[in-house]
Symmetry: C2
Subunit: 189 residues, 2 copies
């Protein structure tokens, strides 16, 4: 019989981040994470395939939310509107209450080159997914590709600021700031 | 005594690509590559640390050319001018005579997920280097970051078209096309 553990994934995520910060990512074990979260190792594996997955479990959901928003956009939406919709969808995944988690997670990633590589590959996958969704919505190939590159670039830059120490503005606002900066540059290139 | 091998790196590169295409990247050995190029294994290792390096040896040079061009730009150059200079420097590394090599190389990468990941990380490194060079030139942080993301995005999109079957336009022109597409989108977001 599988017992339902209320809040187990959240507790496991918090426990893992604490442990990664204290003991180092490499040293931390799934057994320790489960113990700290007050669950069995078996419960851990019900939610995550391994300890790295605790840090990247949100990626698929992030990509799905962005792609679904673009796919659901009105048929009349132009490429600019679709980019705005994609950026709004990405920002909506990171409300204020996720900022502390994101900061802890970033501290773990910063200490581990292999995790940073995984993060860059996640961004590349987001880009690819957005280009495909834009193309499926009728956006021409070169425009779809370059709009996807820049939209995820804007998300990446905005996100890096969102998790910076002392930053209090929300992600949507930071993305708007990055977009305005980009617009000022490309207008004149 | 180290013998000078005229054209050895070029012959090794061509031999490696032929062999990767025929035998598969995983199966090909350094001994086979050297034999096909008519040199010793020792000569191979004078130019490349391993067989993967044959595919990525140009990355450092590409990054250096781009960074040097931005660094050497006039102190009065604004962010838009610096992006144009970076794109010109990247395009200058890929004259028409390198297109066939780039197409063969791409065919090898397409068949090997691990090599594709390496390529994505190379692009991330280019981005990072460009952001640093722009900042060193006095460009404000958010602008530097988002301009670097988009400039390398434009290079990436342009390059993908440059190596497409039947494409005959040069890289600089394809980058201009991608930039124009990006400008049309971000003007209205």
């Amino acid at each position: 019989m599988v017992r339902w553990e209320p809040g187990a994934p959240e507790r496991l995520r918090a426990a893992a981040l604490e442990l990664f910060a204290e003991a180092g990512y490499e040293q931390a074990t799934v057994a320790q994470i489960a113990q700290r979260a007050g669950v069995t190792e078996r419960t851990f594996y019900r939610y995550f395939s391994d300890k790295r997955e605790v840090l990247f479990a949100g990626s698929a959901e992030l990509q799905r939310r962005m792609v679904d928003a673009v796919t659901a956009a009105a048929p009349t939406a132009d490429p600019a509107r679709l980019v705005a919709i994609a950026l709004d969808a990405l920002a909506s995944v990171f409300p204020a209450e996720r900022r502390e988690f994101a900061r802890w997670r970033n501290a773990v990633l910063t200490a581990e080159p292999a995790l940073q590589e995984r993060e860059l590959l996640k961004l590349a996958s987001l880009k690819q997914a957005l280009a495909v969704a834009l193309t499926a919505h009728g956006v021409e190939g070169v425009t779809a590709a370059v709009a996807a590159e820049s939209a995820i670039g804007i998300f990446h830059v905005g996100f890096a600021h969102w998790i910076a120490d002392g930053e209090e503005r929300d992600l949507a606002e930071l993305q708007r700031e990055a977009l305005a900066a980009l617009r000022a540059v490309v207008m004149w290139v």
